[in-house]
Amino acid sequence: MPINNIMETTWFLVTETQEQVKLTCGLLNDFNEDLLAKIASKDDYVDNLKSTVEDLCFSRIHSGGTKDHKEAQTVRALHVICVNLERIADYCVNTARQTHFLTDCSFIHDYDYAPMFIEIEKGLAQIAPVLKSRNLSGALDICKIEYALDHMYKEQFDRIMAEMKAGERHIGDLITVLFIFRYLERMGDSLLNIGEALIFAIIGDRIKIRQFQALRQTLSESGFDGTFSDIDFHSIWGSRSGCRIGKVDSKNPGKEKNEGIFKEGMKKKIQLEQDNIRHWHEIYPGLAPRIFGYQEKDETASMLVEFLSGCTLEQIILTEADDILKNVIFVFEQTLSHIWEITRRECPCPTDYMKQLGQRIEAIARVHSRFFRRSCSINALSLRSSKELIEICRGIEKEIPAPFTIFIHGDFNVNNIVYNHDNQKVNYIDLYRSRDADYVQDASVFLISNFRLPIFDRRIRRRLNRVITHFHSQFSGFAQKQGDETYEARMALALARSFFTSTRFELNYGFAKEMALRSHFLMERLAAHAGRPWADFRLPEQVFYY
């Protein structure tokens, strides 16, 4: 049996499932017994189709008829797709039968079921074209429908719960409606399985699409204005499995299942990250995640990269025992100093910390407009505005270019560094800002990413302070060794930038204000030093500790 026949039967099943979904939506819109009977009677036909595809798939694989590995993958994917299509069709029948439990079928009209049907139909319609054109982005779009449906389900769920508590509507009807929404939500789960199967067929790797990627996407579409690295913390926190080192399964290191992170965005940005990842592989093989797939559309590009198992450095700092933390820091330092040594290039490099701050001013102002100081005076004492301070520091920055460059990570947050306990290795993630630049850029972001964690428990805070002290002394030591005389001044500029820009993601007003004040303090100190040799500038170290 050629694979085309299996595909054709699968497309029949897709069409039948689409029809079932359409009829079920129609039934909810306008109930009639004949339609309900029609939906129920189609169930057997769908079951038969699924069994047929299943038989075809198994015989194809077991007879050794699959021409190559790629074809075998497609057959396996088709099987998963069919199982899940039949499940969706089953849920349609279940949904339709629920209408009998409603005291009045129009009861459901008060609830937003139609948008969920639209999403489901959209997903089903994409299956055949995606597989035919081997379109990775399309497959990922199908995966994302699950998140959209979950979101819609949650809205309806909350509403129904509230109505149950209020006690004004018929409880039986409410429960029935809740069951209906539950079936629609489960159709989303099946669509996710289908999307993952399509990815498997296209790229040949078994990838689990993480929910937080859908979240990222959705945040992006909803107009979230910030760098995604800044929200990673919250999303990864809940989803990175086996985080605690003690729980990491090291028995089967060779049998791990790959998981992917989907990135989609402006073509230039995704392309850049792809180039950077490749460059990192040349510099330090195994440091960056592998790229599973890359695809370009007109304006956008998407990329599927390896999800690296392990814990972020942030998680280790916050949760692990002292001895483990020490060990991780040791491994991390070895990696870092090696990278800094081998990528060092002898050429002065202008820095742009104040420009980076300028680019984020509007985003900061949207969240904390009060943190911007206006110029003012107290009798003869004139106090500079935020804008004036930034301008002065911009001028200072021009005087003190970095004496050499290294290949920097570019967004060196503690949550962009992943440690794998099994192979005692450090990995870098989120690499689209990597470039040859001042090492102080990475060093400052790393230090601030510890500081800005909104954790106020004294014990953990002391630990964060210890980590900061340790790395600050490491970075200073590196600067001394390299004869970098303006390190402290550049660090002050970079910290002023990071303290201020970090406020836009901090809604704890007091903590955010503290960071804004520290940023101004550093800029004031730099401004006060102007005219003297920058090698003499001393960084006020207290700014590091909270």
Binding site: R373, R374, S375, C376, S377, I378, N379, A380, L381, L383, S385, K513, L517, R518, H520, F521, E524, R525, A528, P540
Partner: protein
């Protein structure tokens, strides 16, 4: 409608740089005028010889706090005119 005029400034200072603020304020008290200006408005405080001073200090764990509060009433010239008693003969 509130006719309260306000001036606010917050910053982090070193033990040296804070003295510039204290000196500016000290001069203001000596001259009987503390002029506070921002881009949009100007407030003049006219300390007189009936200043209520409160100094509070607090130390708890690693946190220390020193609060200096000076308050007074400023009577304007018109009020002084009104309050003047005129005896006609």
């Amino acid at each position: 409608m509130s006719d309260t005029e306000r001036f606010e400034h917050e910053s982090i200072e070193t033990h040296k740089s804070i003295s510039e603020y204290l000196t500016a304020l000290q001069e203001g008290f000596e001259n009987g005028r503390i002029q506070l200006t921002t881009e949009k408005k100007e407030i003049s405080l006219l300390p007189n010889d009936l200043l209520q001073l409160s100094i509070k200090a607090r130390k708890k764990g690693d946190k220390s706090k020193l609060t200096i509060k000076v308050s007074w009433r400023e009577s304007d010239e018109k009020e002084k005119e009104d309050a003047r008693i005129t005896i006609q003969t």
